[in-house]
Amino acid sequence: MEQSYMVEVDSVSMRFNLGIDKGFSLKQWFVDVGKGKKKTKNEFWALTDVSFKVKKGEVIGFIGSNGAGKSTMLKIVAGVMKPTKGEVKSYGNICPMIELGAGFDTQLTARENIYLNGAIMGYSKPFIDSKFQEIVDFSELHDFLDVPVQNFSSGMVARLAFSVATVVDPEILIVDEILSVGDMAFQAKSEQKMLSMINGGTTVLFVSHSIEQIKKMCDTVVWLDHGHIKMIGGKEVCDEYVSTMVGN
């Protein structure tokens, strides 16, 4: 009965080396040697021993303060990062909606970017051909198809990115705070689209700071705190989280 789970996260830990950002520099090396300083280890565990399983069609939400490890968790499930320890298994094609529009080349037109970004998301050419009209219709950018994206407003870019990303029916959808894009009308429309994707039986992993959204959409809520799972369960986790935050 292994297949009844879509995602299995088994005691995952993720270590970042904060010092790595500076890397090795000749100048720093001389300074350190001069002062007789040893190289300091500046480690940071973004996640420590996190385990959970997601059933098919389940919507799981992650809450927690900034830097709690929510986005890192999603990136590990998406395959962008390899965990330092532990294992992640997923069964099905994943659609990661982590910072949309990352694959846009601003010098290219909207039309060209639909194909480029589609390819980055892993779509095939016939698939994009067949969905092209749907993407354009949803984004409502008919008049700007042959305009380079660098001339777009940020709202227009977000609309285009959202439309490209949500045209698939993925088995596993990974969402990192993207529901509020564009103007008010488009926000309502994109939230509607997201809800219909979720109700379509997709398995969803979802990060949001909007407790209301989490409550409305998620079956299971995971509360991450400094890389640990503080609480996992139903909507009552949200209330607990809110009361703790207010209490502080």
């Binding site: 390899k82 982590i98 694959g103 080349d105 010098q107 892993g122």
Partner: protein, 264 residues
């Protein structure tokens, strides 16, 4: 067989992405230029003209028995592929970090797409090369059919070298400067504008021949300028350098790619 099926799967899954990345490079490269893709034809001719003027008038280089322009052009077209492709590929992983950080995709696709993109430019630059061959009376012969062997070796060698460069550049940004210097040295130790016979010191001449590009250029010139089938050792060295560097490149890239994300 497993490898073959694996390659087939990768092509099916990522072939379209590769095409999109290459076509993106083309669109961006010729955006808002009046002559557009004609530059791919014109540019090699102009570079050749500049070098020919300098080296025949100022330095009085000659290549006995063969036309100097044809000699120069064959060397330039081959070497320029290597220098342009490896240089672009080196920064490709770093430049696409925002993507690598957000969506899973095989990271080698970036250096690979640069090598393919410059490869298409290379094929276009064969047109000015043949124009020069005809214009100078060098002409063509039946052995030109053997040239694709050298082209494939050049591509594989460049790809292998680019994989190493692009992964090293992630950890050591100094590479961008170092490699600039290395490339200009490489231009001069490869006999592009002079004949290897002017190197009289046997030790130095031996060192010059350790250069993979020497053999690839040599292979092409034996055919194009002298109309003979290259000797067996030229075939061997070209193939050997290509395979060894490709294997080395794949190894280095595979070993380091999971750490990229912490360094970019």
């Amino acid at each position: 067989m497993g490898t073959y099926n694996n390659l087939k799967y990768v092509w099916k899954r990522y072939g379209f992405l590769l095409k999109q990345l290459v076509s993106r490079d083309f669109k961006v490269k010729y955006k808002r230029s009046v002559l557009g893709v004609f530059w791919s034809l014109l540019y090699p001719l102009l570079t050749m003209a500049v070098m020919a003027i300098v080296f025949t008038n100022v330095f009085k280089f000659t290549t006995p028995g063969v036309n100097y322009l044809s000699y120069l052009m064959t060397g330039l077209v081959m070497f320029n592929y290597f220098s342009e492709a490896s240089n672009l590929a080196m920064s490709s992983v770093v430049a696409n970090f925002s993507l690598i950080n957000k969506v899973y995709m095989p990271k080698y696709i970036f250096p690979l797409s640069k090598c393919v993109f410059v490869g298409i430019n290379f094929l276009l630059s064969l047109i000015p090369l043949y124009i020069i061959l005809f214009a100078t009376g060098t002409g063509i012969n039946v052995y030109h059919l053997l040239l694709p062997y050298a082209f494939v070796c050049l591509f594989l060698f460049t790809l292998g070298f680019s994989l190493i460069l692009s992964s090293v550049a992630v950890f050591l940004r100094d590479m961008f400067y170092i490699y600039g210097v290395v490339l200009s040295l490489w231009t001069y130790v490869t006999p592009i504008m002079y004949d290897i016979s002017i190197i009289e010191n046997p030790t130095l001449s031996f060192i010059f021949k350790l250069n993979p590009l020497y053999w690839i250029v040599y292979f092409v010139r034996r055919i194009v300028l002298y109309g003979v089938v290259p000797e067996i050792n030229a075939w061997l060295y070209c193939g050997l350098f290509a395979v060894v560097f490709l294997a080395l490149g794949i190894l280095v890239f595979k070993k380091t790619q999971d750490k990229f994300i912490y360094y970019v």
